[in-house]
Symmetry: C2
């Protein structure tokens, strides 16, 4: 999958919006124009032409994302999900602490086992999050 022209295609905010909109379902020209509050037909025409190889027109004349368009959508979503990876890690950590406290209070004999299992899990998950995916501990860089 050539990433060069694909990024160029979604390198304008409006085109990202169009891709996101078409991911929800097929739309006609005027639907896109209305839903994204675009005043000029020429403007929409210009950007649709830029998105040429990410979208297709189906048999009813609706614009739809093609496979390359969905690939672009995954790239867009990868970025918006990126900021959540650190938060997901902390939520996971919190959850496992609660589990351990619960085990300690109700079935204390299982605590060593639970502790080891959750610790191993957090080590693997932490490695994957912070080393492999380069998420940093500080919220701002």
């Amino acid at each position: 999958m050539g990433s060069d022209d694909l990024f160029e295609a979604v390198s304008h905010p409006l085109r990202v919006e169009i891709v996101k909109l078409l991911a929800k379902g097929p739309r006609r020209f005027a639907d896109i124009k209305r839903e994204l509050r675009i005043k000029s037909s020429g403007l929409l025409d210009f950007h649709l032409k830029k998105l040429d190889n990410l979208i297709s027109i189906n048999k009813d004349g609706f614009y739809v994302l093609n496979e390359k368009g969905f690939a672009a959508l995954q790239a867009v979503e990868a970025i918006s999900k990126y900021g959540w990876q650190r938060r997901a890690f902390y939520l996971n950590l919190l959850f496992l602490i609660i589990v351990n406290i619960y085990v300690m209070l109700t079935m204390a004999e299982w605590l060593p086992f639970t502790l080891v299992v959750t610790a191993v899990w957090m080590i693997f998950y932490g490695y994957w999050t912070f080393v492999k995916r380069h998420v940093s501990l500080k919220p701002r860089s």
Copy 2:
């Protein structure tokens, strides 16, 4: 994570190459210039300035990807991996067929169980691949 300016940053082939290169490790100006065979310093300067908020300069004066840069890298990788999802599905299917044949030939009494488990797995995996991620069955659209 604002995806707009991020896509704009990697909307040029050379800038994608720079991000991929810096993902391998810190580089100095002349390193990038040499490794990507860029003739003009001005050209590299121009594109590095465009990548301004994806990269930082560390204490040794090396260019490095910052967190936003790694987010961009994930987007780039999401696209290059996209073409493999269908192939991965077929490889998985092939593997499960082989497993079933093996089970049939060596421990035939387990076949109904294996068949059900692998079928359920393929249904879930297929749903995730083709419906949720919009990978199409035809190689070309």
